[in-house]
């Protein structure tokens, strides 16, 4: 299992803040492909360019990274702080 958290505009676009997914291991790319395959809002909201970074166990990852079983994964839209 992994816990996936959504932030900012993604929370509204997807209609949820977090969810638990069955997970046997894989990468950030595998996770995004699986979520986009849900189609509709998911494919549109998680299109390349709409996702800024992924966070695995509190660390921002650059590019493709492994997601271990039991991880917390954050999916971040482009940031607008300051």
């Amino acid at each position: 299992m992994i816990n996936v958290r959504y932030f900012g505009v993604l929370k509204d676009a997807l209609g949820l803040e977090q969810e638990t997914l069955d997970w046997q291991g894989g990468t950030t790319g595998d996770l995004l492909s699986r979520l986009r395959a849900r189609g509709g809002d998911w494919d549109a909201a998680l299109a390349p360019g709409k996702v800024f970074r992924l966070v695995v166990n509190q660390s921002i990852v650059q590019g493709e990274a492994a997601i271990p079983v039991g991880a917390e994964v954050g999916i971040l839209p482009p940031v607008t702080g300051g």
């Binding site: 509204d12 509190q58 660390s59 954050g74 482009p78 940031v79 607008t80 702080g81 300051g82």
Partner: protein
């Protein structure tokens, strides 16, 4: 470099923060302060409030990473960053950056560098709540990315 990062819903006090930093920074001949505030009117409809969301733990770490990167470029004695979250009204402070160094050039440049990277890298998301009841998430600006590129 002494480094302190706080992300909180609480209001910050520039005078108190600067006095504390100056006391801790040792022989700092220069302290530069930047305060970002909520604009009341950015478009046709007046803003009622700004809502700021962050990723607890991750956001603080990312700001600290940017500050440590700044310390590799300039001789900094101390850095303090306070960023607010939750509902903020027009005129309220959103972000405070204090940079202490022996001389002003390093403090000025490091404060600008930190703000440029904070705006484009640190996990914060703004939602505008307008006077007419409508709301929308703020979109990332390409001008902020452009501002960052000058440091590379």
């Amino acid at each position: 470099m002494r480094l302190s990062v706080t992300v909180s819903a609480d209001v910050f006090d520039l005078g108190q923060e600067e006095a504390r930093l100056a006391a801790e920074a040792g022989d700092a001949g220069a302290v530069v302060a930047f305060v970002g505030r909520v604009r009341g009117q950015d478009g046709p409809v007046a803003l009622a409030s700004l809502f700021l969301e962050h990723y607890p733990g991750v956001t603080e770490s990312e700001i600290a990473r940017i500050a440590r990167e700044a310390a590799t470029r300039w001789p900094l004695l101390a850095c303090r960053v306070v960023h607010r979250v939750g509902h903020l009204r027009p005129g309220e402070g959103i972000v405070l950056v204090l940079m202490a160094s022996s001389h002003r050039q390093a403090a000025f440049q490091a404060a600008e560098y930190l703000m440029d990277y904070l705006k484009t890298q640190a996990p914060f998301w703004k939602r505008e709540c307008f006077a007419d009841g409508s709301e929308r998430w703020v979109e990332a600006k390409t001008s902020d990315d452009d501002a960052c590129r000058r440091w590379s």
